[in-house]
């Protein structure tokens, strides 16, 4: 090996590679590069916690500093995954506590995290800096108290959208006076009141604090004092944005806001009193991201606010904005990149606000940089979708939810196949698509033919036959995640495309026409897939042949053992390929 570089040189070169893809490529070059790379990898991302085991990770990467991981499938957000399915963080935390004493960052999404895990984290890693728990559950404020008390160099504590059992607000007071390292604190998902004086002191002694997201229990009267102590804030989430109308409260707040020259992101706004919105106007010209999706603000007040935010790049809002508000958005915010419109009354049978497909058409016309959309509405037409597709060929994410499942084109009463077909045909960079409405196999044919960069597809109440599923599995070259509910897709398409499933992260199908027999067959054929039948009605074998399973979740894994933490409603093929289950 006369011409090879010394290890230290290679390691130094590799240190410039931050993307996982590049590092994975490097490790495939030859055995010595594989070895050098694995010793110097510091960060990993595990997209499915069951795709690999802690032992395998630790064996390969002995010196990690940051771990990011996802657990439950996305449809868990909509209660489609039964309670107790899995995604427990503890085995990972426990294994890593032994193996990585210098671990600094843990980021988990849709996992079950216990107080025990949090305590273990707080005591095992001397240099722990970053804890981000997105849509997690299973812990209480006691666990947070351990983190606050023991992590002396804590920089980030972010609990976005997690379900925390809120025993008391006392946890915040556990941050010692010596803790001055906080950069980001997101407690917006918590219910109870923390000590306001403790919070103020914490903010005052954290000169690097960039992100502060308060919870609903922090009243508006307290906000001014808090942000006065942190004029360097970049991201602010308010608490409840309501108070008695008093001019001194207003001017106090307006003053405090005007000192925050770096503010770029605003969120919170529970219980909003629109008269207090103008207190923020002084910062609006710098705002790039605005989350008003929990705020009931009438359209006229929204428009006044939006007109102040000319540099807006991201807007999350309720459908109270109405079509007219979206027209105003299209006129004012030419730099808009992402729009999410959520329903204020998702379960109502009739529309409660004048928000239709027209709002989305306007924004697609007026905002040339718009690339990411999530839109809830109650009617759609092929004409509108075609117009949107032609206006915005630069879409990367397009998620449309028409509240009434299987709603046809409201003008022609036809399926919305051609509309969505236009989207995939025109938007060649589309990576994520969610479809709703009346859809036949034809839309899947369009998707299979055109959506070559599509990585994630969500489908509900669509299609006529297995042909639909077959089009997607055989045509979408970049597909990584496919989630399907209530579609007439079954065994044939699944088994015909078994090999494809190993190239994807996961496939979810619930309330479809997949039989237990097909699941067993798939598991037998594809040893590197876990085929989980999630069925709460008892042993699938006890049902007549050809009967559909409630749900099936298929994912690739390098961990050859079946997962040991399966609950009794998850049925998988046993290791010796026999037809036993669970």
């Amino acid at each position: 090996m006369a011409y090879s570089f010394p290890e230290e040189v290679l390691e130094h070169v590799f240190s410039f590679l931050s993307s996982d893809r590049d590092r994975n490529a490097v490790s495939l070059v030859c055995k010595s590069w594989y070895d050098i790379e694995r010793w110097c990898r510091r960060r990993i991302f595990v997209g499915n916690c069951y795709a690999v085991s802690p032992e395998i990770v630790i064996r390969r990467f002995p010196e990690l500093r940051a771990v990011e991981m996802k657990g439950k499938p996305h449809f868990a957000d909509f209660n489609l995954v039964p309670e107790g399915w899995g995604a427990y963080a503890y085995p990972w935390i426990a294994a890593m506590a032994e193996a990585y004493p210098f671990l600094e960052e843990i980021k988990l999404k849709r996992m079950v995290v216990t107080d025990e895990s949090l305590e273990l984290i707080s005591k095992s890693y001397k240099n722990f800096k970053v804890l981000v728990l997105t849509s997690c559950e299973g812990f209480t404020t006691d666990g947070l108290a351990s983190i606050a008390a023991n992590c002396r160099h804590l920089r980030e504590l972010d609990l976005r959208e997690s379900e925390v059992e809120d025993l008391s607000g006392h946890w915040l007071s556990h941050f010692p006076d010596s803790c001055t390292s906080l950069v980001s604190l997101n407690m917006s998902c918590l219910g109870s009141e923390v000590s306001f004086s403790a919070l103020e002191r914490l903010v005052a002694r954290s000169p690097n604090l960039r992100t502060l997201r308060l919870n609903r229990a922090v009243p508006l009267e307290r906000l001014a004092n808090l942000i006065r102590r942190a004029p360097q804030l970049v991201e602010l989430g308010t608490g409840a944005y309501s108070a008695e109308i008093r001019s001194d409260t207003f001017s106090n707040l307006a003053d405090a806001f005007s000192a925050c020259k770096q503010l770029k992101t605003l969120s919170g706004f529970w219980d909003v009193v629109p008269s207090y919105l103008p207190a923020m106007y002084s910062v609006c010209s710098g705002i790039t991201s605005l989350n008003l999706s929990y705020a009931a603000i009438p359209s006229s007040d929204l428009v006044k606010l939006i007109n102040q935010c000319q540099n807006l790049q991201r807007l999350w809002v309720l459908d109270y904005i109405e079509d007219s508000g979206l027209d105003a958005l299209a006129a004012s915010c030419k730099g808009l990149q992402e729009l999410r419109v959520f329903p204020s009354d998702p379960f109502g049978a009739e529309p409660n606000v004048p928000l239709t497909e027209q709002g989305l058409v306007s924004v697609s016309e007026g905002c040339p940089k718009l690339e990411s959309v999530l839109y809830f509405c109650r009617q759609m037409s092929n004409a509108a979708l075609i117009a949107i597709a032609k206006n915005r060929p630069n879409f990367i994410r397009f998620r449309l939810c028409i509240i009434d499942p299987q709603a046809p084109d409201y003008l022609t009463l036809e399926p919305l196949d051609t509309g969505f077909g236009a989207i995939v045909e025109n938007c060649k960079e589309l990576r994520r698509l969610s479809m709703t409405g009346l859809l036949t196999d034809r839309v899947f044919k369009y998707i299979g033919s055109h959506a070559k960069k599509l990585e994630m597809l969500s489908v509900a109440f669509a299609g006529d036959s297995d042909l639909g599923l077959h089009h997607v599995l055989s045509g979408c070259d970049s597909l990584r995640k496919l989630e399907i509910r209530d579609c007439p897709f079954g065994d044939k398409a699944l088994l015909a495309n078994a090999a494809k499933l190993e190239t994807m992260r996961s496939l979810w199908m619930s309330s479809c026409f997949v039989s237990f027999g097909a699941c067993k067959l798939l598991a037998q054929k594809m040893p590197r897939l876990n085929v989980e039948v999630i069925d709460e009605r008892g042993p699938p074998e006890s049902r007549p042949e050809g009967c559909s399973v409630e749900r099936v979740y298929v994912y690739r894994t390098v961990d050859s053992r079946q997962r040991l933490d399966r609950p009794d409603f998850v049925w998988t093929l046993d290791e010796d390929s026999s037809l036993r289950y669970s």
């Binding site: 109308i245 219980d271 008269s275 204020s344 379960f347 042909l467 088994l495 067959l521 559909s548």
Partner: protein
């Protein structure tokens, strides 16, 4: 399908339902129309799990899952009452509940536009402290911003009726 034990799988793609053990219509049953049933919204909500796809976290934190009691006063009545706004899905239901509470009829008439034949004017105080006529904004927005309700009684003078707007004009910000 079970025949495909060793080598290739038999695939026979055709248009139409595989298996056929579950009638397509059975699956669609959840979307049957209910004729004029007021509970249609509730039925929809209960029938399809996880639909519409609003994340559970968002649902829990947006729509008032708790109770929302507000005081209601009626001109001429000696005592105030309280109503729970979360118990009602819309203005019609609320008006009916108010009529039950005060033992009268016709509270909703003033909302019907240019009707002259009404006795009551239902109004509410919003978060900004303004008194508003019931019915202008979407129900959910009303429920979130309503601090209290009042049912005013129209007083006829010289046989000339007063419009709801005139009554509102006379109101200052009460405490």
């Amino acid at each position: 399908m079970e025949k495909g034990g060793g080598g290739g799988l038999e695939t026979e793609l055709r248009l139409g339902l595989p298996g056929g053990e579950v009638e397509k219509n059975e699956k669609k049953r959840v979307f049957e129309e209910f004729d004029g049933c007021e509970d249609r919204a509730a039925v929809h909500k209960n029938q399809v799990v996880g639909w519409p796809p609003v994340a559970v976290f968002r649902r829990k934190n947006s729509f008032n899952e708790g109770k929302l009691y507000v005081k209601v006063s009626m001109d001429g009545a000696p005592f105030l009452r309280k109503v729970d706004l979360t118990m009602h899905k819309g203005y019609t239901e609320l008006v009916r509940a108010l009529e039950d509470l005060f033992g009268c009829f016709g509270i909703g008439e003033a909302l019907k536009g240019d009707e002259e034949n009404y006795e009551f004017v239902p109004i509410y105080e919003d978060k900004d402290g303004d008194w508003m006529l019931l019915g202008d904004v979407p129900w959910e927005m009303f429920a979130e911003s309503c601090k209290r309700l009042r049912v005013m009684k129209r007083v006829e003078e010289n046989g000339v009726g007063l419009h709801a707007k005139d009554l509102l004009k006379g109101l200052s910000k009460e405490d």
